[in-house]
């Protein structure tokens, strides 16, 4: 996925960009509305993350412009305001969703996923590893002609393992990457989800290996 991040605070922009890149996505950063308009007009972004208060104007005017130009790239607003009336006006202006700063990255990811699923279907979201096809947006897993619908947590876990194929993840790392701090997910829960994924992948060349005392790794034994 290719993201456009419009945020004037460089520190925050760097932190968000780093976190998005960690998930294997590409991020371009614009610090002003003028830059954002130029970037967005290329139309090559899957999603725009938009701050509202920008040095050269209000993010809402960008929203209006963007929609007036028939540009249908979904926009998620990063707002500092929590007043409901403000949120409503942003959705009215054509934002697809919003998160309130400071935000939980897994919530932002969940919202991005939901918006993308709603907007673009699954054209670019199919990953293929060995004999497995995996639609990361819709959560469809197709193993040797068998179609499986994944639950959200299974989906995110599999997506992480597939996009970082061959890389070892400790349980702790998986908890950090996949769950909100509010969720109280124990490391045992990871074992449950790994167990389910293994069951789904049964009969395929793609395997999730356990490295005792270290973690898990997805391999394509083709």
């Amino acid at each position: 996925m290719k993201y456009l991040l419009v945020e004037d605070n460089m520190d925050l922009a760097n932190a968000i960009s780093a976190r998005i890149r960690l998930d294997g996505h590409i991020v371009d950063h614009a610090a002003k509305i003028a830059d954002a308009t130029a970037f967005a007009s290329t139309g090559e972004y899957d999603l725009i993350l938009l701050d509202i208060m920008l040095p050269d104007g209000d993010g809402r005017s960008f929203l209006k412009q963007h929609r007036a130009a028939q540009n249908d790239t979904p926009i998620i607003v990063l707002t500092a305001r929590s007043q409901v009336s403000d949120r409503i006006s942003m959705l009215d202006l054509g934002a697809d969703d919003y998160v309130t700063k400071p935000f939980d990255h897994s919530e932002l990811q969940a919202r991005c996923r939901a918006v993308l699923r709603r907007k673009s279907g699954s054209a670019q979201s199919v990953l293929t590893v060995g004999d497995v096809e995996f639609d990361t947006l819709a959560g469809h897993l197709s193993v040797k002609g068998k179609n499986i619908n994944l639950r959200n947590r299974e989906l995110r876990l599999l997506e992480l393992l597939i996009t970082s194929k061959g890389q070892v993840f400790s349980k702790q790392k998986l908890v950090d990457r996949l769950f909100s701090y509010d969720d109280d997910v124990s490391e045992n829960a990871i074992e449950v989800y790994i167990g389910r994924l293994r069951k789904h992948l049964e009969g395929s060349r793609v395997q999730i290996k356990t490295l005792r005392g270290i973690g898990y790794r997805l391999d394509d034994d083709g």
Partner: protein, 455 residues
């Protein structure tokens, strides 16, 4: 709203009072003047007849054989006959000596041949009108002055005067009643303009500070002008403080977001348990503070809007559908199925923003406390009244806390390390109360919490 206004009298009543008072005075003046004129005219009529009678008698005065004789015709007295049988008196003097008639008839001493005189007098206790005239007869022994007084009681006159008075009084009364009706009408038309202005200002919602543009009479122009100026000042102040709050929130929340994002990113790289715990408590502290700030602002907004409740027809099912769509990504993170059950539109007259805020808090709570892979159901029923229940499959409420949980800043003891401000249920309850409803908390027999809003 009028409770704290220092009301002194009513403009309408004052206007009506002045106008009816004026009408009463005018009616009284009308009565007095018309009655005086009528009296004068009636008196003139009596005087004319008395004068004719008196003159016809005086005309017959001649000197015969050195003595003054009068031979007055019957008609000279019969012409004085009236319906009221007024009595007629006469007195004839020659050089001040009574020749004939009633001695006690008081007649003016100054009867002159040039001028007939009319006077009022009292005879035997009755008011009379006396006409006196004089003639100078030239006899062989010089001029002799003969004077004749004819008097008549005034029964017929006072009869007709009382009839006239009654009629004039009736006319005056009619005039007064008609003027009073007109006065009341004028007063209510005038104050109606004020009422219309009041209504158009009162009907506005708390957010509407646009100037009054409806046409008003020129006398109300300055008042409306001041009102518009005042509202534009208020609007300016509100906009400024809104901008200030937005700016303040931006300045505080952006660095918090930076810290949180960095802490999260760092957490991905840190292995040591102590460092991880420190970073995690950092993230938690940021979430706590931003959650508290957000909820405090929301609570302030809810309190403000609840006091100035702006109502429109809100379809709660439509509102919930949007909320569910908005919160599904959060539910998905825990593989919670979030479903809305309804039988059709649920229309409630209320403030959509408040209702949305209240319901969002309830759904927020359910998603927060329900375990992964369970169901949260929002059940809307409309018979007989609107009821919304949010049911989850979580641990439910501690029975001894149910009564206190909706208090401000009250949180359950078993919330673990969930981030919360203790204001969610407070907001939901205040919004429900503002809409005339009640909120009840209970535990479902099959497990899990249920919060119901009854409207």
């Amino acid at each position: 709203m009028t409770d704290d206004v220092n009301v002194s009298g009513s403009l309408r009543n004052r206007l009506a009072l002045i106008l009816t008072g004026g009408a009463a005075v005018l009616a009284a003046i009308l009565f007095v003047v018309v009655r005086a004129l009528a009296t004068q005219v009636a008196q003139q009529g009596q005087d004319n007849i008395l004068n004719a009678s008196m003159s016809s008698i005086l005309d017959t005065a001649i000197i015969r054989d050195g003595r003054v004789t009068l031979d007055f015709p019957y008609s000279s007295l019969s012409m004085l006959g009236t319906a009221a049988d007024d009595r007629v008196f006469y007195a004839i003097y020659e050089n001040g000596t009574l020749l004939s008639g009633y001695d006690k008839l008081q007649t003016p001493d100054t009867a002159s041949p040039d001028q007939n005189q009319f006077t009022n007098a009292v005879f035997n206790g009755d008011p009379i009108r006396v006409a006196t005239g004089a003639r100078v007869l030239i006899g062989s022994d010089g001029p002799r002055t003969v004077s004749v007084s004819i008097a008549q009681t005034q029964d017929a006159l006072s009869d007709s005067l009382s009839v006239i008075s009654r009629n004039v009084a009736l006319i005056g009364l009619g005039f007064f009643v008609l003027s009073s009706v007109l006065a009341l009408w004028a007063a209510s038309v005038t104050s109606g303009q004020l009422h219309r202005l009041t209504r158009s200002v009162t009907r506005r919602g708390p957010q509407d500070l646009s100037p009054v543009t409806k046409p008003v009479p020129s006398e109300m122009g300055p008042l409306v002008g001041s009102l518009n100026t005042f509202m534009s000042r208020l609007d300016h102040t509100l906009t400024q403080s809104e901008d200030f709050i937005a700016e303040a929130a931006h300045r505080i929340r952006t660095p918090l977001a930076t810290v949180r994002s960095h802490a999260e990113a760092t957490l991905q790289r840190v292995e040591h348990a102590d460092n991880r715990a420190a970073l995690q408590s950092m993230v938690r502290a940021i979430d706590e503070s931003s959650r508290a700030a957000g909820q405090l602002l929301d609570h302030a907004m809810v309190t403000f809007r609840a006091e100035n409740l702006e109502t429109e027809d809100v379809n709660l099912v439509e509102l919930l559908r949007e909320l569910v769509q908005r919160m599904t990504p959060v539910a998905d993170m825990k593989d919670i199925t979030l479903t809305l059950k309804s039988e059709g539109p649920a229309i409630l007259s209320g403030d959509a923003i408040l209702l949305q805020n209240a319901l969002r808090n309830l759904i927020d709570n359910a998603l927060k406390y329900a375990p992964a892979e369970t169901a949260v159901v929002i059940d809307v029923s409309t018979t007989p009244t609107v009821n919304i229940s949010v049911l989850d499959g979580g641990p439910g409420f501690a029975p001894d806390e149910i009564a206190t949980l909706s208090g401000r800043f009250v949180r359950g003891k078993d919330t673990g390390n969930k981030v919360g401000s203790g204001l969610g249920l407070t907001i939901a309850k205040e919004v429900t109360t503002a809409h005339g409803g009640t909120m009840s908390l209970h535990n479902r027999p099959e497990g899990g919490a249920c919060v119901t809003l009854h409207f």
